[in-house]
């Protein structure tokens, strides 16, 4: 039997300070908490050994939070348990998320030794004023230093994360950020449009329009400290400029928000859009295994309790009880055939080269026209999709209103 591919996502829910736009599961924590978490995480990882022995791991992504906040030993400990518990392919893509201001030469050496071969560095903006507004802990100069250190340490595959449509951002300041980024010639650039998420300081400022209007005085104050968000037209301009700018510099778009030099597309992320199986490890991490979606508890106490050990690492294995481990799974969802088809469409269409009719019929044993014929026809007529041989792709307009397109494929 052919080995099944598996992607691993490892979540590190710690950061130096919460950014103003961030709604991810992450918070500052003291060193003791971090160490305890790493012990629990290692225990969780080891508990998976038996269940996933038939799989070969093709990608690993350590995300956060700010995983680079961990010291070299902790990272090494996590990877030791990963190598011990999973069969990781030699050519696996192993990514670590990194934030400027948390990286040292020692850490870089430890990561290299742990087998990490791709870094994803959070720059977000090359404009210090924008960085301050976002609540980032670093300046552009700090980033440059981190980037140079990483290159010197021998990392050849680097992604730079950017955020567009920051309050106060202009097309010009965004082009400067793009230029400064492209000048560094990273292999990959992610450029996400800012989304104002509930529960963030940004939401308090920009979330509800009514509040904004509530008091003239307040509004004036806001415009000084909190410049306005780019409007929709400006945001779309920025988005379109990103594409053309990066294409001129040799980066092609392969997903709504991702650009790469040929051959450097992020395999891990593509796996999500291609509905590959992945296992999430750590607090709140999401998984798709055997057509089941589930995620680990986001409750730190519960997570720590499930994998608690006061003793040394070697004893942990004995304490692992599969039932405990099941207890931390939440929102377990068995995907029906229809669920899978919906996902195939709305995940696959995010990719610039869209979806393949053949892939659809291979996966579901029915022709895509039988299932979605009328929707495809309608969306093509509206100029949101175009059909090209075996492939179905979003048009530029379709990308702008992709949610409206995806909704059509929901049952």
């Amino acid at each position: 039997m052919r080995d099944r591919d598996l992607e691993l996502y490892v979540h590190i829910p710690f950061c130096a300070r919460k950014c103003a736009y961030c709604d991810f599961l992450s918070a500052p924590a003291d060193e003791e908490t971090r160490k305890a978490y790493v012990r629990a995480l290692a225990a969780e990882i080891r508990g998976k050994k038996e269940e996933y022995k038939e799989y070969r791991v093709s990608t690993v992504f350590v995300g956060g939070g700010t995983p680079s906040i961990l010291d070299g030993d902790d990272t090494a400990r996590i990877f030791a348990s990963l190598y011990e518990s999973f069969r990781i392919r030699d050519n696996a893509e192993i990514t670590m998320e990194v934030n400027p201001g948390t990286v040292t030469v020692e850490k870089l050496a430890a990561w290299k030794k742990a087998g990490i071969n791709r870094l994803s560095i959070g720059l977000q903006s090359a404009d210090d004023r924008e960085l301050r507004l976002l609540g980032r802990i670093h300046t552009y100069k700090d980033f440059l230093e981190t980037y140079e250190q990483a290159r010197r340490a021998g990392f050849q595959n680097i992604n730079i994360d950017l955020i567009s449509a920051i309050p106060g951002q202009t097309l010009q300041s965004w082009e400067t950020t793009l230029a400064k980024t492209a000048d560094l010639e990273p292999q990959h650039i992610s450029a996400y449009s800012l989304i104002v998420e509930e529960g963030t300081p940004f939401y308090d400022r920009y979330g509800q329009k009514e509040n904004e209007e509530s008091s003239g005085l307040l509004k004036r104050k806001q415009t000084e400290a909190w410049p306005p968000l780019p409007n929709e037209d400006e945001e779309r301009w920025i988005y379109k400029r990103t594409k053309s700018f990066l294409e001129e510099r040799g980066y092609h778009q392969y997903e709504i928000s991702n650009y790469a030099r040929p051959g450097y597309e992020c395999r891990h992320n593509l796996g999500y859009w291609d509905r590959k199986e992945y296992l999430g490890l750590g607090l709140g991490a999401s998984s798709l295994v055997n057509n089941r979606r589930f995620h680990n508890t986001a409750d730190m106490d519960k997570y720590m309790k499930a994998f608690r050990t006061e003793r040394s690492d070697t004893d942990i294995d004995k304490n692992i009880d599969k039932n405990i481990d099941k207890d931390i799974y939440e929102d377990v969802e068995e995907l029906s055939l229809q669920d899978c088809m919906e996902e195939f469409m709305f995940l696959g269409l995010r990719k610039t080269d869209g979806i393949s009719r053949t892939d659809f019929s291979d996966a579901f044993h029915s022709d895509i026209n039988e299932i979605y014929g009328s929707q495809l026809k309608k969306l093509e007529k509206e100029g949101l999709l175009f059909l090209k041989d075996d492939r179905i792709l979003l048009t530029e307009r379709g990308t702008d209103v992709s949610n409206m397109v995806f909704v059509e494929f929901m049952f």
């Binding site: 979540h11 929709e232 928000s257 999401s286 969802e333 909704v407």
Partner: protein
Amino acid sequence: MSVIDQKKIRNFCIIAHIDHGKSTLADRIIEMTGLLTSREMQSQVLDNMDLERERGITIKAQAVRTIYKADDGEEYMFNLIDTPGHVDFNYEVSRSLAACDGAILVVDAAQGVEAQTLANVYLALDHDLDVMPVINKIDLPSADPERVKEEIEDVIGIDAEDAPLISAKTGQNVHEVLEQIVKKIPAPEGDPEAPLKALIFDSVYDSYKGVIVFCRIKEGTVKKGTPMLMMATGAQADVVEVGTFGAGQFIPCDELSAGMVGYITASLKNVHETRVGDTITNAERPCDEPLPGYKKVNPMVYCGMYPSDGAKYPDLRDALEKLQLNDAALQFEPETSAALGFGFRCGFLGLLHLEIIQERLEREYGLDLVTTAPSVIYKVHKTNGEIMDLTNPTNMPDPSEIEYMEEPMVKAEIMVTSEYIGAIMDLCQERRGIYQGMEYIEEKRAVLHYHLPLNEIIYDFFDALKSRSRGYASFDYEMLGYQRSELVKLDILINKEEVDALSFIVFEGSAYERGRKMCEKLKAEIPRQLFEIPIQAAIGSKIIARETVKAMRKDVLAKCYGGDISRKKKLLEKQKEGKKRMRQVGNVEIPQKAFMSVLKLDDD
């Protein structure tokens, strides 16, 4: 209690202004008479229509029988009969009152007598009920029971000297209310041996038992096997079961005799055969004449009701038929709309009645509805001499065929504290009111008299009244008749297509304002779509207002982090749900609630 001494029965209702504590007092009485323990006690028993009880029968709890052991050592049977508290339901109040011998008048110790309180008390006095005042909410810091007592005596003219000062919320002094029910409310009269004469004051439909009739026995006795005759509808059937009302439960008994309140089932399957207000008699030994309870009530307000899902049309018809069973005022007939498909034009007593029916259809029958703007009945005098009753704006004849039109007027009484008189007069002015006079009922409170067009008060007059008086104004009205008026039909065009379900009839002088507000409202309600959508208001071929819903520029969720697909999917599912609640008109999707948006044109 198998054989009941007539002298130990007390049939009464509670009348009150909305929010003065009727339901809470009813709960306390039920609780303190001991048929329900505190633990069993569900809050607001009388108001809760979702109570599913024995044998899965859903009871609209219009009456409750409880047993009270009084301080004199005797046990009394209390029949507490619920009355709707709103002006729309004058008729329903009236037939509930007809089943009672006395009424408890609940007055809020802080707010005092309100216009509705007056209206209901007069209704009760019309039915020769003994009215027993109770002053509630004495636990409020702003309570002023002495002032309220004086007000009851001055304004209503009933003795309030011994009125119990209570807090229904905490139960304080409710015992005194129970004792006064025994002492002040008269026992029923009536001869159990006389020919049967029973008043239907409510009814429910049950799929096992058929129609369940709630009645007050005025004369005679009814038991299993009695051949009964409904005197107004002429329907006949043999009685299958009789019984009394527990708290939310039907308790069968051997017979119901004069003075008692209870239910009768007779496997009547046709919901049209029993009408609230009708008199039941014994077909073999009928009484001479029916009770005066029954009169046909005519709806005042009409609107279209459509199932969101066209396939549910038969379900909507069934549900309306069942509701009509215990709601003589509800009328409906099929109609078709280009925008909304098959539905019904329904007639109601007023806007609150409409809202209640709508809510019951949605909650009890699980129907998802689209309701069009309510309309009153206009009289159209055509050039050919015909007079037509217009209940649906779509049917308005061409202006060239219209000689003139008339609209219904009401006589309104508004009770308000002196500082808000100006604001309320402004409101009445805006609504085309004609001032009739004002009188002070006490130093700081006055009654304003106005004549108003009914179509100016069916939308949101009550809300406007409350907001402009900080809740201190109260309002009551009665029909006055028709008056000639300059009226036009306002059409709404969405993406250049006329949407029939959005047309309405409006006073010519208000048409521009209404049209403009309607367009603004629809702009806010209609989500942006792939293309630009013009919204226009027109009278005939003349466009009088326009707004534009801009095309959707961007609807993207860029970030999809750490494989958290479920969250993204939930967002798409939510968006899909929203889409399902849309109506496709031409190629524009219109949210169903937009069809109701004319209701709230004046809330700014």
